[in-house]
Amino acid sequence: MAEAKGKAKAKETKEARETKETKAPAASPAAPQKARIGVFVCHCGTNIAGSIDVKGVVEYAKTLPDVAYAEDYQYVCSTPGQKIIEKAIKEKKLTGTVVAACSPRLHEPTFRRATAEGGLNPFRFEMANIREQNAWVHMHDKESATDKAKDAVRIAVAKAALLQDLTPKSVTVEKTALVVGAGIAGMQAALDLANAGIKTYLVEKLPTIGGRMSQLDKTFPTLDCSQCILTPKMVDVGRAPNINLMTYTEVDAVEGFIGNFDVTLRKKARGVLSTDEAEAKGIVGGGCNGCGDCEPVCPVIKPNPFEMGMKPRKAIYIYHPQVVPLLYTVDFDTCIKCGLCVTACGEKKAIDLEMKDELVKLKVGTVVLALGYDIFPVEKKREWGYQQFENVVTSLEFERLICASGPTGGHLIRPSDGQTPKRVAFVLCAGSRDNTGIGKPYCSRFCCMYSLKHAHQIIEKIPGVIPYIMYMDIRSFGKMYEEFYYRIQDEGAKFIRGRVANILEDKATKNLHVYAEDTMLNRPIDLEVDMVVLAAAVQPASDTDRTRKLFGVSCSQDGWLLEAHPKLNPCGTTTAGVFVAGVCQGPKDIPDTVAQAEGAASAASIPIHIGKVELEPYFAQCIEEKCAGCGMCVNLCPYSALSLVEKEGGKKVMQVTEAKCKGCGTCGGFCPGGAIWMQHFATPQVVAQIDAFLTGGAK
């Protein structure tokens, strides 16, 4: 019975081939009778030639059916290399090309262009990956690697022989962009896009923009006041005519593709109307003007997350005086709906305690994700006593405690007794560079520098204070960073090279004993200090995973968003038209974040300025004479690109809406009648590859 199935399959394939012939004209001008494939094998210097007998592969290729020409070259991707392809196509009258070289994810576009230059349809090109997936992973077994390369070429040739002409579908790009997250990265990206003349939606889940940077007191190594350099930008964002700012809003759903993303946003019930919203509701001169009359009357008191819970806020609140937009927010989880605020607000009628979430639909051409980061829950490292001992704080809490606009007006005090600490230990790598499975394996990258800055800040503010910096390595890699290190050392900070083993509290004095080894001194130390600041590791912001999945963006093992290429495409993602900026792609300091934001913005503006993008034409096609109209594929399609239509004579067949089809092939993989033709990955083409591998071998 097995064999029977096999035969059945073979038959099906043959039919499919015929179908293709009958179908081909639709796509290609002149379907050639006999395939003539040219094979070009790349040495890539010694990258490939070092572990594969390139000449042997070429000689082998010449013996393959349909191969009209084969040649090797040092670097096929080079200009002369590409010329060879063009020349061969013309002189040898090739119908298709195969390049055996690196990964198609690297050079497929290059060789498609070369193939087109030679006068063939670019989709007549097929690539055999003999570098990433062969030469580099079988470096010590030249024989097997060479065999594998021959098979790869054979498989590629088999497909190339059946490839058709295809024309990429060109779609117009919506001239608007979406930026998710309004920290410094998102703000910068939005400003750049807006200044480039692009209508930009900037979406922030919190009630105000500014992100983590607005929580910082000063910034290294220049020591600019963070708020001072940030607020102007925040104001610009608030004012920019091209930016449509939507705070207290989350992304709810995403459909479509580059050029035409259909995004659904959830405007969370804020309980407060902006002046515009009020006007829209016909409340003349109404809406929230940030006067703050509502706040004092509110009876509910809660910790303010912006102040790391060290300062109270009401159930109707703003995070801090410089918020943008200056608009109060009702925390409906704690609001008791007493209505006092409504009365206080009076004629402005800004407060609506019955407000509900609201869904907003947008169409955008490109997207920038700037989702930011959270602090690693360092209490999980029990040995450092965070949340067990009052005077152990995190670096972000320290930022608020040292900040003039913070809960203590910038006077650093010990949480336990309000005293000014005279000896402060800064614990670096608090949860970073940790392979125990509790902390994070990576370097959080900016802790070293802000801890140096913290040391400077207390030296500046507290006469006679001694900062002890407990470090493994000081990573001062940026411009003027090493100089900053020099300066802080000069100012009197004490550097102790040893990772902190554990911290114990003196119950009587609430002082802390920091245990470590001074590895330079080769002695264990018991360092009694008044306060400990943990430079806690960073991790992706809480809802990063949910959001990235909405946009089909992958992540690396540690949860940070995965860039399209770590070196050559650091802002792109695997989803065309979606770009990343800032720490959500991996820990980075403010300069790097802003730089990447500008990169992402410019990358996101390109398709919009061009006005159209070409989509790879990997669409599904219905082979109507085979379609039984069962409609199973219709339910399978995740993009509802398929539908059943009635043809003359009442025959129901499936029809593809190409604009919606993304070419995943889920329908083609399922169709019981083999009635779906997946362009460029058609059943006969794939089956030919399988046959070529298993039955076409010389061995």
Partner: protein, 142 residues
């Protein structure tokens, strides 16, 4: 069934373009060495994998087939990998009926950042097939 001397397993790998193929590339850039007994066919998504592809491979005498896609929830096309996984699960029972050990078909999930995992997966698959020996169909079709 023990492997005859000099026998090398023929293993077909069908991988999705976005996760597993990228993961395999990463293994390459990292120079992570693994056994050379697998040949790759790239599709855009494992959802495209027609069970008949795999039947065809076994009829052609493949000793093993590896289908590898994105992790659940990470599929570039939302849910192609779920559908593929379901199909592979059903297909395994069919294979059993045909007297083909279902261990010869394996579905794995390797993300674009898991180069080392890809190498490990191929190692495992090759190990499994080596212990199973040549496919009964291969012997039968000769």
């Amino acid at each position: 069934m023990a492997a005859p001397d000099g026998w090398k397993p023929k293993i077909l790998g069908i991988v999705c373009n976005w996760c597993s193929y990228a993961g395999a590339d990463l293994a390459g850039s990292a120079r992570t060495q693994y056994p050379p007994d697998i040949r790759i066919v790239r599709l855009m998504c494992t959802g495209r994998v027609d069970p008949l592809f795999i039947m065809k491979a076994f009829m052609d005498g493949a000793d093993g087939v590896l289908v590898s896609g994105c992790h659940f929830g990470d599929c570039h096309y939302l849910e192609g990998n779920y559908k593929a996984a379901k199909r592979m699960f059903l297909l395994k029972s069919v294979l059993k009926d045909l007297g083909i050990e279902d261990k010869r078909l394996r579905m794995t999930f390797v993300s674009a950042s898991e180069g080392a995992k890809w190498a490990k997966v191929v190692e495992d698959v090759v190990k499994t097939i080596n212990t199973l020996g040549p496919s009964p169909i291969a012997a039968f079709s000769k």
